[in-house]
């Protein structure tokens, strides 16, 4: 065990402790000051402060690097900034409660026990089923290194490159490494703990946060405890949500903080006005939560405008009873939201502007006849055969399907075009969603329209419906395409459905709880198939290690530390070639694809990138130049039916 590892490990643990203390202090303070804040919302504030503190610390060190040119993005420097934030928080927030406090373990467990204990027994059984399926996913994730398509192709390779270089600087290798990357910072932070297995759980806190946010939103719009639990569990056990949570996907990051931001803004809608200063802290937290998303995905940039407008709207509602200086407070609250949104996000935009002159790089905007066209350079090199099953399953959803008829039947077909893999990070609505959400959403929307016409009063439900509708409309305009981009809308749909459950008489509710239990059980049984099969295969083949799981040669972990490997095989090999301790340096396949495809890998390319080893796939679109001197270290036939299709590890001879 090296001294560097011990220092890194100790610093990471210290940073976690300081961030925990700072977050708890902030949440306890908010809980004691803001009227009507619920314990679940105090926990949301805890998570928002924790991740904002970590992200801003990385950004500060990254900004110092941008100014000075020194590669100082290490856990030691980041922990130093975290310590400064903690010191500032300690001075401004005051001491923690002497005994317990709202966020103590005993208090939280007690509340959880009370909540589950007070609901209908059938809902309690549904909670047990939901807990069981989540536990199975945790078990499956614990027995493997991280997985997921985008995760292995560029999210984790980017995090490892930063980790190795001690730098958040602009990487030229690919446009995929140049986007706002808050979502990759936490996996990078976990790398300092030294174990690859932690990476599989990088999104687990985010899943908890998203479930908390949906529960809190549901509690704001319905009195029914069962309804709120239904929303939280139904959303948390959606196949697409669980796969995103255990595949280190950035969409889970965006979903959890977007829902948190909406939830905290909704906290402003109180029946009794409270001092605007107290509301400011809540607005600030909502801004930070949205800022984390803004620094994680470009597609949320236009939504900054909408969220700022939403903040203005809820500020007006919350200050309705204040007669003097009302507009001054509204402007102050809205400005606070914008400033806090920029705090954990602006770093990436400034970095990209300094490197390319375009803060939104690699996105390029151009005016066309029917509006603004958004394009990404180098998308044209994408393989046309990327979705081979499209023709085989014409009724299933495809990657960019915006056919209205397809979406109308999609919940009942629940299928994805990629062969049998219907439940993945790309798709999977599940039985609970399909059973309740389509029917209940229509009923609640109709009921809401009817009651709104009569009462003419803005309710939290109106705000949830507005956010969901705007988000969905924005998505439908085809600016971004994947179904996983609208997971926040799925969460809000469950919140709306919870209102429907709460509006039923108790005898009818009881019938629905029977149905909930049946749907939750069916959902769990279907969901369990893939992880159980994966566990069985892993057990049968004893493929627990990094190399056996990713099907790369064990030799990858035995190369001299710092070896430079070119991935000239499929893109999913980008991450595995780094090795289980991230000891190798990998030039990803993107270097062969951008700016134009490299058909022959010659000595010039090898010299340019300092390549020492090449992991080569004979089935790819490039070949190895005859002039390249090399020796074969490993050779493997990928498919016995095609003996010429091989993966080969070459060592370059100089």
């Amino acid at each position: 065990m090296s001294v560097t590892f011990l220092i890194n490990f100790a610093c990471a643990i210290l940073a976690i402790s300081l961030l925990h203390n700072l977050s708890r202090r902030s949440a306890e303070r908010a809980y004691s000051q803001v009227n009507g804040l619920r314990p679940a919302e105090a926990w949301i504030i805890y998570f928002v402060v924790f991740f904002s503190g970590l992200t801003i610390s990385f950004h500060v060190v990254g900004a110092i690097e941008l100014v000075t040119g020194f590669k100082i993005v290490r856990i030691t420097t980041v922990t130093g900034i975290v310590a400064l934030l903690w010191g500032a928080g300690r001075l401004s927030l005051g001491p923690l409660p002497r005994e317990g406090g709202m966020l103590s373990c005993a208090q939280t467990l007690g509340q959880l026990r009370d909540t589950i204990g007070s609901v209908d027994p059938l809902v309690r059984w549904s909670v047990i089923v939901a807990g069981s399926i989540m536990s199975l996913f945790v078990l499956e994730a614990a027995t493997r290194p991280p997985t997921g398509w985008d995760t292995l192709v560029y999210h984790l390779p980017l995090a490892v490159k930063w980790f190795q270089q001690g730098s958040l600087a602009f990487i030229q290798e690919s446009w995929k490494f140049q986007m706002p990357s808050n979502g990759e910072l936490f996996p990078m932070f976990l790398m300092y703990l030294g174990t690859e297995r932690f990476l599989s759980f990088a999104c687990l806190p985010l899943l908890l946060l998203a479930i908390l946010a949906v529960h809190s939103l549901a509690s704001r719009v319905t009195d029914s405890r069962e309804g709120a639990l239904f929303a939280a569990l139904g959303f948390g056990t959606m196949p697409i949500v669980l796969y995103n949570a255990f595949n280190v996907a950035v969409d889970m990051y965006a979903t959890s903080f977007f829902l948190s931001s909406v939830c905290l803004l909704l906290g402003l809608v109180q029946p009794h006005a409270q001092a605007a200063e107290k509301n400011l802290s809540l607005v600030g937290m909502a801004g930070l939560a949205f800022g984390l998303v803004l620094g994680g995905r470009y597609i949320y940039v236009p939504l900054l405008l909408f969220m700022t407008g939403l903040c203005g709207l809820v500020s007006i509602i919350s200050l309705a009873q204040i007669r003097t200086g009302r507009w001054k407070h509204v402007i102050l609250m809205t400005s606070t939201f914008v400033v806090c949104s920029l705090l954990p996000s602006v770093f990436w935009y400034v970095r990209n502007f300094l490197a390319t002159g375009n803060p939104m790089n690699p996105l390029q905007f151009s005016m066309v006849a029917n509006g603004i066209r958004v394009s990404t350079k180098a998308l044209s090199e994408r393989s046309r055969g990327a979705m081979p099953y499209v023709q085989d399953a014409p009724s299933c959803m495809v990657v960019s399907d915006h056919n209205f008829r397809h979406w109308l039947v999609a919940p009942w077909e629940d299928c994805w075009t990629r062969g049998w893999d219907h439940f993945s990070e790309n798709w999977g609505l599940g039985a609970v969603f399909t059973t309740f959400v389509p029917v209940m959403t229509i009923a609640v929307v109709l009921l809401t329209i009817a009651t709104t016409v009569r009462r003419r009063q803005v309710q939290p439900l109106h705000i949830v419906l507005l956010v969901a509708a705007v988000f969905l409309a924005y998505w439908w305009l085809n600016l971004f395409t994947m179904a996983r981009s609208i997971i926040p809308v799925m969460g809000m749909s469950f919140v709306v459905a919870a209102v429907g459950i709460g509006a039923l008489s108790s005898s009818i509710q009881r019938s629905l709880y029977v149905l909930l239990f049946c749907a939750m059980t069916a959902n769990a049984v279907l969901l369990a198939a893939k992880p159980l099969e994966a566990l069985g295969i892993r057990l049968h083949h004893q493929s627990w290690s990094h190399s056996s799981f990713y099907e790369v040669p064990p030799l990858i972990d035995e190369l001299p530390a710092g070896s430079v490997i070119l991935n000239a095989s499929e893109e999913l090999r980008n991450y595995p070639l780094f090795g289980q301790r991230w000891q190798n340096r990998v030039i990803t396949d993107r270097a062969l694809l951008e700016p134009t495809i490299v058909p022959v890998i010659g000595n010039r390319f090898i010299e340019q990138w300092g390549i020492e080893y090449i992991y080569y796939d004979t089935g790819q679109r490039w070949t190895l130049g005859d002039e390249v001197k090399r020796e074969v270290l490993y050779e493997h036939v990928r498919d016995d039916s095609i003996p010429d299709h091989k993966e080969i590890l070459y060592r370059i001879l100089r």
């Binding site: 704001r220 629940d414 009651t451 309710q459 429907g500 509006a503 019938s511 629905l512 279907l526 893939k530």
Partner: protein
């Protein structure tokens, strides 16, 4: 908004019963029609067949 002050929605009994029927129908259609249900039930059958083969050999 506090629990006392939030105007509560209450659906008439016949609407509630209709919703239960619709939700039940939706659930049954999902079970009988969805490709996910068909595929993952087939996965269980495949795993069972494999277990039987392994035990048999």
């Amino acid at each position: 908004m506090s629990e006392q002050e939030r105007p509560t929605m209450q659906l008439p009994g016949y609407v509630g019963r209709s919703l239960v029927v619709l939700c039940t129908g939706s659930f049954l259609v999902y079970l009988l029609h969805s490709r996910a249900a068909e595929t993952y039930v087939a996965t269980y059958m495949r795993v069972l067949r494999r277990i039987v083969l392994v035990l048999g050999s």
